[in-house]
Structure formats: structure tokens, C-alpha cells
Amino acid sequence: MKTAVMIAMIVLADSAGDVLITKGMKEVGEISTIKPKELLAIARRVLSNRNFLSGIFFMAVTFFSFLTVLSWADLSLVFPSTALVYVVSALGARFILKETVTFQRWLGIGLVCLGVVLTSLP
């Protein structure tokens, strides 16, 4: 039960972090240089992007929840279960953003759910 709550927290914080970081990185634009000077300028732009920073906050929550749950639970249970983030984002897309979710995607979501159930069996 404790494990399930922690996994739920990881999944929710992870989804939030992913959305915000993707948004932030797209705003910053493609990184196509390895020149230290330009990289430094890009790093500065990334670090001043508000979406990116909020994303980092959620990633930190994810990370510490992950660490905590690993102090008692199996890695081979916890890590695959974090794939539930796809289920959360698809449900969010369907019911909050009112997007169409394709059949193939529902199928994938079903498989992820079934897989997590199998993974968590004793």
C-alpha cells in the first residue's frame, strides 16, 4: 500500500515535470553546437526558463520519492511501474484536454496497465 502511494506520487510528479521540461527545452531551441562559449550561453538561457525550472522542481520530487520507495521496495517492481506515467498523460489528454486518443494508444495503455499488474504480483 505504502509502495503504491509512493509510485502514484512518482508518476504524477514525473508527468508534470516532463511536460514542463519539454516545453522549456522547445522554447530554448535546438542545441547544435559543442563550442563551450555557446553552450554556456545556452545553459544560461535554459536556467532562466521558468517552465524548465518548474519542471526541475517536479523532477526533484520524483527523484526523492523514487529514492524513498527504493529503501524498501524492489527496483524490478518500482521502475517498470513508473511507465504508468503514459496512462496518466493519456487520461489527461482524453478527459482534461478533450483530445482524441487513438485505438493504438488505448491498446498500449491497456498493455502497460496489465504489465504493471503482473509485475506487482508476488
Partner: protein, 142 residues
């Protein structure tokens, strides 16, 4: 080519990082007189654990590599690599963490991986437009 090389490194870093974190946290919990019942008491120990620092460094590397690739590659292309990560992590846990993985759990892991690939590829069918949901990746850094 550049994309594949970076993604391979990112996957390796993530999977080995997970193993280090799991090992580190369990070491700390078992060394602590209160076990894992008092989480706050575990954190001072966590900061002193080299195993946890290695794991964290690997996850940060993985995160930076993924973020770099996402700056030019499509998410529907990058996303399926996560399924490799899941399988690799379970294999490493089985091998290095003394977590014998049952056939049922392996089956679950494979279903999750197939499911992730289906979810990721379904974005391509709907085209580029209208894919706000495509912006929800499975990030690294867990």
C-alpha cells in the same frame, strides 16, 4: 547516428544509475537502527553514501543526454527507448541486486515495454498537428 549514440549512452546511464540508487538506499535502510520507518533519519546517511552519489550522477548524465536529444528529435522517436530502459533495469536488478525476477514479472515487464512502444508510435499516425499529448514524454531523471 548522433542521436542513436547519445540515446544508447542515456539508456545505459539511466539503468546503471537505478541499480546504484536501489543498492545505496537498501544499504542505508538496513544499516540504520530504525530501518526505513523514519525517513528523515535516513537522509543524513543518504548524503554520505558514495553509492547514492554515483547513482545520482549517472541519472543526471542520462537526463542531460535525453534533454539534448529532445532539442532536435521527435518525442515519438525518443519515447520507445524508454522500453529498452525498463527491460535493462529489470535485467540488472535481477543480476546485481539479488532480486530474482519471476517469469510473471518478466512477462509484466515485456507487456509494459510493448505498451510503451505502442503509445509512443501512435503519435505518428495522428500526424504532427493536434499532438499536445505528444509533448508529454517519459523523462529521465526519476
Amino acid at each position: 547516428m548522433k542521436t542513436y549514440a547519445i540515446l544508447t549512452l542515456a539508456i545505459l546511464a539511466q539503468a546503471t544509475g537505478n541499480v546504484f540508487l536501489s543498492k545505496g538506499m537498501k544499504q542505508i535502510a538496513s544499516a540504520s537502527p530504525v530501518g526505513n520507518s523514519d525517513l528523515l533519519a535516513l537522509f543524513p546517511r543518504a548524503i554520505e553514501s558514495p553509492t547514492l552519489w554515483c547513482g545520482t550522477a549517472l541519472l543526471i548524465i542520462s537526463f542531460l543526454l535525453f534533454a539534448t536529444v529532445l532539442s532536435w528529435a521527435d518525442l515519438s522517436f525518443v519515447l520507445p527507448t524508454i522500453s529498452v530502459e525498463v527491460i535493462l533495469t529489470v535485467a540488472l536488478a535481477d543480476h546485481f541486486l539479488n532480486e530474482p525476477v519471476s517469469p510473471v514479472r518478466w512477462m509484466g515487464t515485456l507487456l509494459i515495454s510493448i505498451g510503451v512502444i505502442l503509445v509512443a508510435r501512435s503519435g505518428k499516425q495522428t500526424g504532427e498537428a493536434g499532438c499536445e499529448k505528444e509533448k508529454i514524454p517519459k523523462g529521465p531523471g526519476r
